[in-house]
């Protein structure tokens, strides 16, 4: 089906018809940036960490072939099934085949921008499989039948009154109740039932360690962990660029990630999955989907160093005033404009995002 997209400028113009809402969106995200600045300023060696992380990623990209083989070898030895997907379709088919093998029609999924990129939810929906996004923000946009508008804060464009109304419609909360505490409790109860019923859990991957064959998943809500630990099958989906060489490098990346993302010193949960739980089946899907091609480009290779902290969104003056849905890529915002596979253009406006991204130090 051919879809005539409106341009970013047209969608941004629509977004800007409500100036007060733009101000609210802008201020909310700016506050996250301030939190990041405060957290970063408390680490004396911040810029050194960024530089080290950037160099580690340079090394990874220059040796990705060997690191992936090393990772695969260790993951297999750890009892994990490893799959390779050349593109989004193959990724979706691999995931679907695992689900079908277990005769499951209801799965829980924690945040994974890769599965957004691959359109996994729509694909599985077409196969009559219900996917429940368990991150609160992702569940909200899922109920609203929208894509996330921010990779770390998926429903940052929603006001609490609107979420109250959405929950009233879908979860039966009292009309007019827009208290975040109350709405979160309602979502907790609603999603708890899905966790307890979930036989298969999909997670994304923040880092995959070549040396140990483990994957690390970071969340604040604990939704990835609850999903995985209550399910019989765990599928972790990752882009091939998520590899880092050694376990000790996690220190550098985890020190940067949450501080850059939300200003927290670390996410509540940083879970290292090295071997499946006793009796559990664990799969890792390694996805290329344009990444190996991107690796060849001197101009665009650096984008493969991105750790998806989302700091560039919060500092981007255009993103803050145009909203995540004005972009046309699975990952919105400034980084999304260069991240999307096959997309070889870049918005030419200012570059504060580059000074904030942990990976693009000098």
């Amino acid at each position: 089906m051919y879809v005539q997209h409106k341009s970013h400028a047209q969608l941004a113009e629509q977004f800007n018809r409500d100036a007060k809402r733009v101000d609210w969106h802008d201020e909310t995200l700016w506050l996250v940036r301030i939190k990041r600045d405060r957290a970063a300023s408390q680490v004396a060696e911040w810029e050194q960490l960024r530089e080290a992380a950037s160099q580690i990623k340079n090394n990874v990209l220059s040796n990705l072939h060997d690191y992936l083989l090393q990772f695969e070898q260790h993951a297999l030895a750890n009892g994990i099934h490893v799959h390779w997907a050349a593109d989004a379709t193959e990724h979706n088919e691999i995931v679907h085949a695992i689900i079908r093998k277990h005769n499951i029609n209801h799965i829980v999924k924690s945040k994974s921008m890769l599965t957004e990129e691959c359109g996994l939810n729509e694909y599985l929906h077409g196969q009559d499989i219900e996917v429940i996004d368990t991150d609160l923000g992702e569940r909200i946009v899922q109920l609203a039948k929208e894509p996330p508008s921010h990779i770390v804060l998926p429903c940052i464009h929603w006001k609490k009154e609107e979420i109250g109304e959405l929950f009233h419609q879908h979860l039966g909360t009292p009309k007019g109740n827009a208290d975040p505490q109350f709405l979160t409790a309602a979502a907790r109860a609603h999603l708890r039932e899905h966790f307890l019923a979930g036989k298969l859990a999909i997670t994304g991957v923040n880092f995959a360690v070549a040396e140990t064959g483990e994957v690390v998943v970071c969340t604040n809500e604990g939704n990835a962990d609850l999903g995985v630990q209550l399910a019989d099958v765990h599928i972790a989906c990752m882009g091939i660029e998520k590899i880092i060489p050694q376990r000790k490098h996690l220190a550098i990346f985890l020190r940067l990630l949450a501080r850059s993302a939300t200003g927290q010193p670390i996410t509540t949960y940083s879970s290292h999955f090295q071997k499946p739980r006793e009796g559990q089946e664990m799969h890792i899907v390694l996805v290329d989907n344009g990444r190996s091609r991107r690796l060849a480009s001197d101009d665009f290779r650096n984008v493969l160093k991105c750790i998806r902290c989302g700091a560039c969104f919060n500092t981007c003056p255009v993103y803050r005033r145009s909203g995540g849905h004005s972009y046309h890529t699975a990952v919105a915002g400034p980084i999304g404009s260069i991240l999307a596979p096959g997309l070889d253009t870049i918005y030419l406006l200012p570059l504060p995002c580059v000074g904030r991204a942990p990976m693009f130090a000098r």
Binding site: W84, K159, R188, E221, N223
Partner: protein, 194 residues
């Protein structure tokens, strides 16, 4: 050619000239008083730190915070005279009413208030994530400055699940309002043993 071979061939062809791996030990700060830093960091992220003189003190504090009929599940031998020890009679789904689960942590990280533990300390891997409230116990001498020292300690050990847990489960997805207890424990108490 399989996708695996195709991807690997493309990578081999497209990856740039080898770049060196930098020294992973660049940039470490040594916070002053590690215990104070840890307590501050944990408090800042919504957790609670309690300094305790011994097992009896911990048991008393837990009894006070979670009076009967709260179901307390314990995985620590030092507390088995006080609280029911985790046994195989439980199904993971049973843990949702547990307040609190008590687990031994391996060490705490002063810069971020995180506690490291592995499946060995969890009893059941679902327990620390599904319980209503969580209590972790670390020794004061096991507080280290940063994540660099943390990975020095973890070294090349193996585990099924290794986890940093830093504070209670939380979300700020609704208008950036912080709410504790998103999906997992609504509170986290870390007991620091002298």
């Amino acid at each position: 050619m399989s996708s695996r071979e195709k991807i690997l061939a493309a990578l081999k062809q497209n990856q740039p000239a080898r770049q060196p791996l930098p020294d992973a030990h660049t940039g470490r700060t040594q916070p002053g008083n590690l215990k104070e830093k840890f307590i501050q960091a944990l408090t800042d992220i919504g957790g609670k730190a309690v300094e305790a003189q011994g097992w009896k003190a911990i048991a008393a504090a837990l009894r006070e915070a979670f009076p009967a009929p709260a179901q307390i599940i314990n995985t620590i031998p030092g507390l088995n005279s006080e609280f029911e020890i985790l046994s195989s009679k439980f199904h993971p789904h049973d843990f949702r009413n547990v307040s609190p689960a008590i687990l031994q942590g391996q060490f705490g990280v002063a810069e971020n208030g995180a506690v490291w533990l592995t499946n060995e300390q969890m009893g059941d891997q679902a327990l620390p994530y599904i319980c209503e409230h969580l209590a972790l116990i670390i020794s004061q001498r096991d507080i280290i400055p940063t994540l660099h020292e943390a990975y020095d300690r973890i070294s090349n050990s193996t585990y099924r699940l290794g986890a940093f847990i830093a504070g209670p489960s939380k979300t700020a997805d609704i208008e950036q309002s912080l709410v504790l207890g998103a999906h997992g424990p609504k509170s986290l108490t870390v007991f620091i043993l002298d």
